[in-house]
Symmetry: C2
Subunit: 419 residues, 2 copies
C-alpha cells in the first residue's frame, strides 16, 4: 500500500477481486439484484464477515441486519471510527455502488492488521442492510438505526409482495423489537467515513482519481400539471390552440437554461406525460416533474422560487391551467469540514491533487451525519455510469483510494487530529 505500482497480491487487486466475487451474489442468475433481508443478503454478509475476520476483526450482525466488524484499538472505550457503506443494490446493478465502501474498509483494516498496528481507537467497518430503498419505500434503514433516527413506523412499510419491513427482518434473523439497541450511544462514534464511486462524470472529465465530497446535495421535487384544451390536430389553427405540451416544452427548456446558468445547480425534467397522447390530437394535458438539486440550500431555494414563478407565467401566457405541487424538499447535508481537511491532507501526502465536489446522489453519510462527523471520498468511475452492470472503476484508482483512506485513518490517530 505505497505509491509504487500495485503488485500481483496488492491490496487493490484483492479489493477488485473481492468486489467481483461479492458482485456475483444475487437473487437473479443473469444480473446483480441484492435486496435487504433476502438469501442473497445473508450470503453476502457471510462472505464479507469471513473477510472481516481474516482482517482481524470480530463480527456481529445488529438487530436491523447491519454487519459490523470491529478491529480493536489501544483504548477499547475510545469513540469508534466507523467506515462503511451498504450491501444492498438496485435491480440490475453494478458491483461497486455500496460494496466498494464496505470492502475498502475491510482492506484498510487488513493493512493495519498485517502491520500489527493498533490505532488509539477501535475501527469498525459497517455493511449497512439497506440504502437504495428498492425493496421497501424507505431508505437508510441501516444507517438510521445506527444513529437512532429510524422511525419505528417504517417497520410497517410493505414490499411489493405485501411483506413488511418488520416481518422480513424477523424472518432474516433480525430483531425489530430490539431496534433501539442498534443505535450507538451518543459520543461513542468518533467519525464516519464512506468511500463510494462518484456515480457522475466529473472526476473522469478532470482526469482525477479521487474527490472529497463537500456536501450531499439538497433536493426539491415538484410536480407540475398543465391543463390546456385537447383539439383536432387538423382543424384548430395555431393561433387558437392551448397546447399543454408546448407549455411543458417551454418549461423543460427553462429548467435546463436556469440550472445551466448557475454552478452547483442541476435541474431535471425526468417525467413528462402527455394526454391524450394521440398523433392527431393537440395535447390537452401535460404532467411533468422537476428535480432541482444543489449543495447550497440557498441556491436551490432561489432557483425553485424563480422556476415556480416563471412556470406560472408561461402557463398564463399560453392560457393554460397550472398547478405546481412541491412533493419533496430535502436540505443539503454538508460533510464535516474537519474530516474533509483530513482527507485533503491524506490526498496531498499520497501525491494526489485535491479535488472537492458535491454529491448529487444521496448516501448513508447523509444519515450518519446525525450521529457524528461524517465525510465521503469519491472514486472516479467510467462515463459516470452507475446503477448499471457497466458501472466500473480502475485498479489504480482503487489503490489510490485505499492509500488515502489508510493515510486518513493514521492522521486521525495523531494526538491533535479530531474531526
Amino acid at each position: 500500500m505505497t505509491g509504487s505500482p500495485p503488485e500481483a497480491s496488492s491490496p487493490g487487486r484483492t479489493l477488485m477481486a473481492r468486489l467481483d466475487e461479492l458482485g456475483r451474489i444475487s437473487a437473479d442468475s443473469d444480473r446483480l439484484n441484492r435486496q435487504p433481508f433476502t438469501p442473497a443478503h445473508r450470503q453476502a454478509i457471510e462472505l464479507v464477515a469471513g473477510w472481516m475476520r481474516l482482517a482481524g476483526m470480530s463480527t456481529r450482525v445488529d438487530p436491523i441486519g447491519n454487519l459490523i466488524g470491529r478491529y480493536e484499538g489501544q483504548d477499547p472505550t475510545a469513540p469508534v471510527l466507523l467506515i462503511g457503506s451498504h450491501l444492498d443494490t438496485v435491480v440490475d446493478a453494478g458491483r461497486y455502488d455500496g460494496a466498494l465502501g464496505v470492502l475498502a474498509g475491510v482492506q484498510v483494516v487488513a493493512a493495519l492488521h498485517d502491520a500489527e498496528e493498533r490505532l488509539p481507537f477501535a475501527v469498525e467497518v459497517v455493511a449497512f442492510c439497506d440504502e437504495e430503498g428498492v425493496r421497501f419505500p424507505t431508505t437508510f434503514l441501516g444507517s438510521k438505526a445506527i444513529c437512532g433516527t429510524l422511525d419505528r413506523k417504517v417497520l410497517e412499510l410493505q414490499d411489493q409482495a405485501g411483506i413488511t419491513v418488520g416481518a422480513a427482518l424477523r424472518a432474516f434473523g433480525g430483531d425489530p423489537d430490539a431496534l433501539a439497541s442498534a443505535a450507538y450511544p451518543p459520543g461513542s462514534l468518533r467519525a464516519f467515513l464512506e468511500v463510494h464511486i462518484e456515480q457522475g462524470p466529473v472526476l473522469e472529465a478532470e482526469d482525477r482519481p479521487l474527490g472529497i465530497v463537500t456536501a450531499i446535495q439538497g433536493q426539491s421535487r415538484l410536480a407540475v400539471v398543465l391543463d390546456g384544451v385537447a383539439g383536432h390536430a387538423g382543424t384548430v389553427p395555431m393561433g387558437h390552440r392551448r397546447d399543454a405540451l408546448a407549455g411543458a416544452a417551454e418549461i423543460a427548456l427553462l429548467v435546463e437554461r436556469r440550472c445551466s446558468a448557475t454552478p452547483d445547480l442541476v435541474g431535471t425534467v425526468g417525467r413528462l406525460e402527455v394526454l391524450p397522447g394521440a398523433v392527431n390530437v393537440i395535447p390537452g394535458r401535460a404532467l411533468l416533474t422537476l428535480d432541482i438539486r444543489s449543495p447550497s440550500d440557498l441556491l436551490r431555494g432561489q432557483a425553485v422560487a424563480e422556476l415556480v414563478q416563471a412556470i406560472h407565467q408561461i402557463a398564463a401566457a399560453r392560457g393554460l391551467g397550472c398547478t405546481i405541487a412541491r412533493e419533496h424538499d430535502q436540505p443539503a447535508s454538508v460533510c464535516a469540514p474537519g474530516l474533509q481537511r483530513v482527507l485533503a491532507q491524506a490526498m496531498r501526502a499520497e501525491g494526489i491533487q485535491v479535488k472537492y465536489l458535491p454529491s448529487g446522489a444521496g448516501h448513508d453519510t447523509m444519515a450518519m451525519a446525525a450521529a457524528c462527523p461524517a465525510a465521503m471520498l469519491f472514486v472516479r468511475c467510467q462515463g459516470g455510469i452507475s446503477h448499471h452492470p457497466l458501472e466500473s472503476m480502475t485498479l489504480p484508482d482503487a489503490e489510490a483510494a485505499l492509500r488515502v483512506l489508510l493515510r486518513a485513518l493514521r492522521l486521525l490517530a495523531l494526538p491533535k487530529a479530531r474531526p
Copy 2:
C-alpha cells in the same frame, strides 16, 4: 325554409330533433358509440330510411352497407346529384359529426318533395357505413366502394375481436362478393355535396354560420426518436448531459413556431414519450410524433423538409442520436371549384357572407373526389369541440345550412350550371 325566423315546425327544428333521436342510437347506454356493421348501425339505417321514405325517396342498402335514398328526377337517366355523409361515430361521440350531412340531405329532399318539385336529375342521399375508421384499421369503406376505389384487401382487416371487415359485413347482411356492384358507373354521378360541422373554431371566431371548404388538408406524419444518455439527475452536471427530453422540447417549440409563422399550415406534436421516465433520471430517450397539415401540398412539403433538417440540427447540437420516420403522406384534396362557386352563389342569395376555409380533418368528400366533382359546406360548431358529447350546433345555423343547400341544388338544376 326562408329567411324568416324558424317556426315551430320548421325544417331546422325537424333536423335538430332528428339529430337528437339518431344520436341516441348507440351500442352503449351512457355514450354515443355507433360502429359499422353493428346492431346500432342497423337500427340507425332503419330510422333514417324511414325518414327518407317520408321525404319521397325510395331506399336501398348497397353491398357495403351504405344506405341510399333516391328522389327521382325529371330525367331518370341523368347523372345523379349525391348528398350525404356517414352514420358511424367515434367512441363517446357527438351527435352532429356525419349525421348532420345525412339528415340535411334528407331534409332538403323533403323540401323538394313538399313543394312537389322535381329537379332535372335525381337527388340521392347517402349514409355511408364507415368514415371514422374506429372499428377497423381503415377509413372511407362506404365512399370508396361507391367510387370503385375500395381495395378488396381491406375485407381481410380485423377489428379488435378478430372479426374481419368481410365477416362483419356478411353478418350484417351485406355482400362482400358483390362489392364491385356498389360502385356507380363512370359518368353516373353529377356531383357530391357534404354538409358537416366544422370541427374547428374558425367560423365561430369570425362569427359566421357557414363556410365553403376550399380543400381538405394534406397531411404528413413523422415519428422522431431521440437517443441521449440516461443519467442520475443529481450526479451529472448540466454541461455533461445529453438529455433526450430537452431535445424533444426544442423540437416541439420549433414545430409550433414554424407552423405559426405560415398561414394555412398547422403542426402538432401529439405524442411524446420519455424513457425511462423517472423523476430522478435524466431522460435517455424520447419518442415524439409530428402531424403537419396544409391545404397546400407545396407549403406542407416545404415545412416538412425544413423541420426534418432543423430536427437533425437540434439533435446534432445536443449530441443526440436521431431517426425520423415519415409514416404517412396524404396529399391535399381540392374541392371542385365549380361546386365551390355554386355554394358561394347560394350563400350570397341567402344573405350570408361567403367564407372560404380549408378542412383540417379528413372527410368522405376526399374519397368521393375520385368519382365526381365534390364539395363541402361547413357549419359552425361551438368551441371547435368535436368527437365529444359536447359537440354542438345551433338551430339558426342548421336553418342556414338547409337554406343554402337547397338553394345550391336549385342552382345546379339551372340549364347552364355544371360543376
